[in-house]
């Protein structure tokens, strides 16, 4: 790969973001820890009957994963904007949308992949039947990148603003309603022994659309945010 070519640029940026995440391994563990703690709160709150827990397990896991991703999203672009790296990315020969897509990919690997790994554990703590586990993992594999892409657009929009934590939640959660509905819907269908392919297919369609549109929207939003 010659330096400056598009593949080299993508690889370099991906490598940098993963290196940075690795140097701050503690930050990777935080969303996972958060998800584990919130999950253990549920049986305390509603009682430990297995039937009741199994009924809500899928929905609870999806909402917890959504909130954990939301928490990790805030510093997706903040670091780059504060230390001046964003100028370096914006003036680079490659389209900003492509570079942004790489950053989102790195963020998905460091924030969502660990959550997907622990999600079956969380779900079995909540007595989700084992036969529904594959559907849980498939739904998470499709819905977490979708959430990261949607979230990245909104984080880019708030990047130039003063406060963003609660605001990000207010903006992101309504837009996530379809993702939660289809992901949890697929799992509910699988638990009841019904066909679950249709909602998964909708998630896949949404992901395909977001993969194309979200990086472009994100790049446009970042330009608005840098315009100070």
């Amino acid at each position: 790969m010659t330096p400056g070519s598009t593949p080299a640029a993508c690889a370099a940026l991906l490598r940098r973001d993963l290196t940075l995440a690795w140097r701050r391994r503690g930050d990777i563990a935080m969303p996972v820890l958060y998800a584990v703690i919130v999950t253990t709160l549920f049986p305390f709150a509603i009682g430990p009957e297995p039937a009741l827990l199994a009924r809500i397990a899928g929905g609870v896991v999806f909402v917890i994963v959504l909130l954990a991703i939301l928490l990790s999203l805030d510093h997706l672009f903040r670091g780059d904007i504060e230390d001046g790296s964003m100028e370096l990315l914006m003036l680079a020969p490659q389209p900003l949308a492509l570079l942004v897509a790489m950053k989102i990919l790195a963020h998905w690997i460091t924030s969502s992949l660990p959550l997907i790994v622990v999600a079956p554990v969380l779900a079995s703590m909540l007595k989700l039947p084992p036969e529904a586990m594959p559907v849980l993992v498939i739904a998470l594999l499709l819905s977490t990148p979708l959430l990261c892409l949607l979230g990245a657009v909104l984080v880019a929009l708030t990047a130039g603003s003063r406060r963003s934590g609660m605001l990000l939640a207010l903006m992101l959660l309504p837009l996530c309603v379809p993702v939660v509905i289809f992901a949890a819907g697929a799992l509910a269908a699988a638990q009841e022994g019904l066909p679950w392919v249709a909602p998964i297919a909708w998630l896949g369609a949404g992901l395909a659309m977001a993969l194309v549109l979200a990086p472009l929207a994100c790049a446009a939003a970042l330009r608005i945010a840098m315009d100070t």
Partner: protein, 255 residues
């Protein structure tokens, strides 16, 4: 052909011209809204007959349905204004989009409250996870997110541009939300009762509804123009035309 239309629109894009135009239109729109609203309420509450199933409780639709229409209509206006503002960087369009959001949020809230009030006698509960009510709730959150984003920026213009972008993201998302909520609603078949069949609504009920719809439109225009005028005064504070108004000097043309 008609060259004066774009020319007029172009002139209207200038803040002082729009300020005077809005000031001239606002009292008329407000008066019309009051008048039409009174007529519609009279028609709805007095003239229209009671429903054979729901009795007098159905009469809340004269508020509920026009508000629901407005909640979507204002989002549409906002999306168009946001698009124009982002693409052509027209300040007035940005201001119109941003000042539409609180009005739209208010109509959405009215829709939810009246829907809930209507639900109590009809469904026996204040809230039900009906597809339309749920979509409306999500719409309210989106409106609030737009207002919140706009006000979280130091720089008004930048806040307006970011929030206008969010309006467009929401415009893509609202139909998807509505579709998914419908899908979800059929999956979890609850005790949903379809209440309003607009196809066989009686004429004596229809005209107050349509009149109220016009009244809400006029109110929107009046409210929007008042808000836009206030926003322009605040954001153009240092300009000569604002100083002229503040000092009580009439503008150079009494449009």
């Amino acid at each position: 052909m008609a060259n004066w239309v774009p020319l007029w629109l172009h002139r209207l894009g200038s803040p002082p011209v729009f300020y005077r135009f809005a000031g001239a239109v606002r009292p008329w729109a407000f008066g019309l809204a009051l008048l039409l609203g009174a007529v519609a309420l009279y028609g709805g509450l007095v003239v229209a007959p009671a429903d054979y199933q729901q009795g007098d409780a159905y009469r809340i639709i004269f508020i509920h349905v026009p508000s629901a229409w407005m909640s979507l209509f204002i989002y549409g206006v906002m999306a168009v204004a946001a698009f124009i503002g982002l693409v052509w960087r027209i300040k007035i369009a940005e201001v119109v989009a941003m000042e539409s959001a609180p009005v739209g949020a208010a109509f959405t809230l009215i829709t939810l409250v009246t829907g809930s009030l209507w639900g109590k006698p009809m469904w026996g509960t204040w809230w039900t996870w009906d597809a339309r009510l749920t979509s409306e709730l999500v719409l309210l959150f989106i409106y609030l997110g737009i207002v919140g984003l706009y006000h979280s920026f130091e720089d008004r213009r930048q806040g307006a541009r970011a929030a206008a972008f969010l309006v467009l993201v929401g415009a893509v998302n609202v139909p998807i939300v509505h579709f998914s909520v419908n899908w979800w609603n059929t999956l979890h078949q609850g005790s949903t009762i379809r209440l309003l069949g607009p196809s066989h609504i009686e004429a004596s009920m229809l005209w107050p509804l349509l009149t109220m719809m016009l009244a809400t439109k006029c109110y929107y225009i009046a409210s929007l123009f008042a808000r836009v005028r206030a926003d322009l005064i605040a954001s153009e504070g240092g300009k000569a035309w604002v100083r002229d108004i503040a000092l009580g000097q009439p503008g150079n043309d009494p449009a």
